[in-house]
């Protein structure tokens, strides 16, 4: 399978020993989340609603992105007690966010046993030049990207899943569409490159490691799964990003800022499964109540997607 290529299956194959925290094991969980919905939750009660609706994972955080936007201030890793409450409330994987570059927060999240660490632009960055060395961890990491170069830099640092960033907390899908089209379009163009010299130029343009560019030329896709985040507010939004190439969806404010969260959550889960079937989508989109109020991105004072280097 394409997205597993270039993955070392570690020394375990040679020795027969049991190995944890390998790239194959980390990317493996992302494979299992494909076709699913990962939901932002701020309380154990929210987490149960998400699991009841068919979420494949929950993202534990203190405030959903739209509230982070509204309240301002520095946004940090969640209180460990809250994360543990959510871990106790559900049986599905629990993810949590660390600030960009804040490896101490990530160490704490790993000690808590979270299933995926999100080094996230939704929180206030802790380092203006460096991202976390993610190879140093047993826990897998997901990182956001607005374009292919950013995605490949995160993968070279050890990210095992990429999510297009979109613009979190807006309920506006336009940025997610821009980022997905950019990432998927550039992969298509690299796969069509004529010779190695063109790949050297791509690596320079993208500020990305050449071996990862060559791998995309060979297999046509990232070496890790590509999910979508930031702005999904309706089942139709979920279908749109899946048709554009996303392999799963993160939904933040779109569920718990809608008028009927359990219903909206179930509908988005079904929309990601049946994303290519407009008749089923018409049925599941009916009678959901109000989606979250959206924001025009031109009016934003903070664009979270610009965080990350």
């Amino acid at each position: 399978m394409a997205s597993m290529s270039g993955t070392s299956s570690s020394d375990a194959a040679a020795t027969g020993a049991t190995a944890t925290g390998t790239a194959l094991v980390k990317r493996g969980l992302a494979e299992m989340l494909k076709g699913g919905v990962i939901m932002d939750v701020v309380t154990p009660e929210h987490a149960r609603i998400a699991e009841d609706a068919g979420a494949v994972s929950v993202m534990a955080l203190e405030r959903v992105p739209s509230d982070i936007r509204a309240h301002g201030g520095v946004s940090r890793m969640s209180d460990p007690e809250m994360i543990q409450g959510i871990q106790a409330a559900v049986s599905i994987p629990v993810m949590a966010k660390a600030r960009i570059g804040h490896f101490a927060e990530a160490q704490i999240l790993q000690a808590l046993g979270v299933d995926y660490v999100d080094e996230s632009e939704v929180l206030t960055p802790a380092d203006e030049a460096h991202h976390i060395d993610k190879w140093a961890f047993t826990a897998p990491f997901v990182c956001g990207a607005t374009n292919l170069g950013e995605a490949l830099r995160r993968i070279s640092e050890g990210a095992c899943m990429i999510r297009s960033k979109g613009e979190a907390g807006t309920g506006n899908i336009v940025e997610a569409v821009r980022h997905l089209r950019s990432i998927v379009g550039d992969m298509r163009r690299i796969a069509a490159a004529g010779d190695e010299a063109e790949l050297f130029e791509w690596a320079k343009q993208l500020r990305a490691p050449l071996p990862l560019v060559q791998e995309i030329a060979n297999v046509g896709w990232l070496p890790v799964p590509l999910f979508c985040a930031g702005g999904i507010a309706t089942p139709a939004d979920a279908s749109l990003v899946m048709q554009l190439g996303a392999e799963a969806a993160f939904v933040g404010s779109g569920i718990f800022k809608s008028s009927n969260p359990p219903k909206m959550a179930s509908a988005i889960v079904e929309a990601v499964t049946h994303y290519r079937d407009p008749e089923i989508l018409a049925k599941i989109s009916s009678g959901l109540g109000e989606a979250m109020a959206g924001l025009e991105t031109a009016d934003l004072t903070t664009k979270m997607s610009e965080r990350g280097w």
């Binding site: 027969g16 944890t20 969980l29 299992m32 068919g54 046993g113 499964t273």
Partner: protein, 190 residues
């Protein structure tokens, strides 16, 4: 004639299974509806979240048609969440989680712990000359094996690959390590 094989594609690792089956030369269909299920000769139930898959089976109107096909003896390969869904009994599942009950085993969900405990290891598989490289992701543990269920592989004494009639179930992910032998055997046995 070559069988037409479906891969349950409600959620989870279906793409990796489909890629291996295609390389083995069979026609592969992604299955999300009862109509699609009716058109295939055999089924792979992939890993993923068993709770989410259970709900999607019900909401997509697939639960009863699938149970009927399994009762009718359709060949099925279930990995990880697929094994959980095919088991007779699930421990540490959700109260509303469906058990198709085709394989007389008891499985405990997430028995190894969180993702940090996920691992890869070589295992010996009955009938294979060299070890099989197995990837275990938040894997279930088989706690009881009923009569009529054959254990084909163990890891540290625990059954991780079982066969019962037309059903083969694995606690690990044969679709992730690039070894096609289990899929080839599944197709040969159809």
């Amino acid at each position: 004639m070559k069988p037409r094989v479906g891969v349950l594609a409600l959620q989870g690792g279906f793409a990796a299974h489909a890629a291996i089956l295609q390389r083995l030369g069979v026609r592969v269909d992604e299955i999300r509806t009862a109509e699609q299920l009716a058109a295939v000769d055999a089924l792979v139930m992939p890993g993923g979240e068993s709770t989410a898959m259970s709900m999607l089976l019900e909401r997509s109107g697939l639960l009863e048609p699938l149970a009927e096909r399994l009762d009718g003896g359709m060949g099925v390969l279930g990995t990880c969440a697929g094994m959980i869904l095919l088991a007779a009994e699930v421990v540490d599942g959700r109260a509303d989680q469906h058990c198709l009950g085709l394989v007389d085993i008891t499985v405990r969900r997430n028995a190894y712990g969180t993702q940090i405990e996920s691992f890869e290891a070589d295992i010996g598989v009955g009938g294979f000359e060299t070890p099989f490289h197995a990837v275990f992701i938040r894997a279930p543990v088989v706690e009881r094996v009923g009569p009529g269920v054959e254990v084909l592989a163990r890891h540290e004494g625990r059954p991780v690959l079982c066969r019962s009639g037309p059903a083969t179930v694995a606690a690990f992910h044969p679709e992730l390590s690039g070894d096609r032998r289990l899929h080839a055997r599944f197709l040969a046995d159809l």
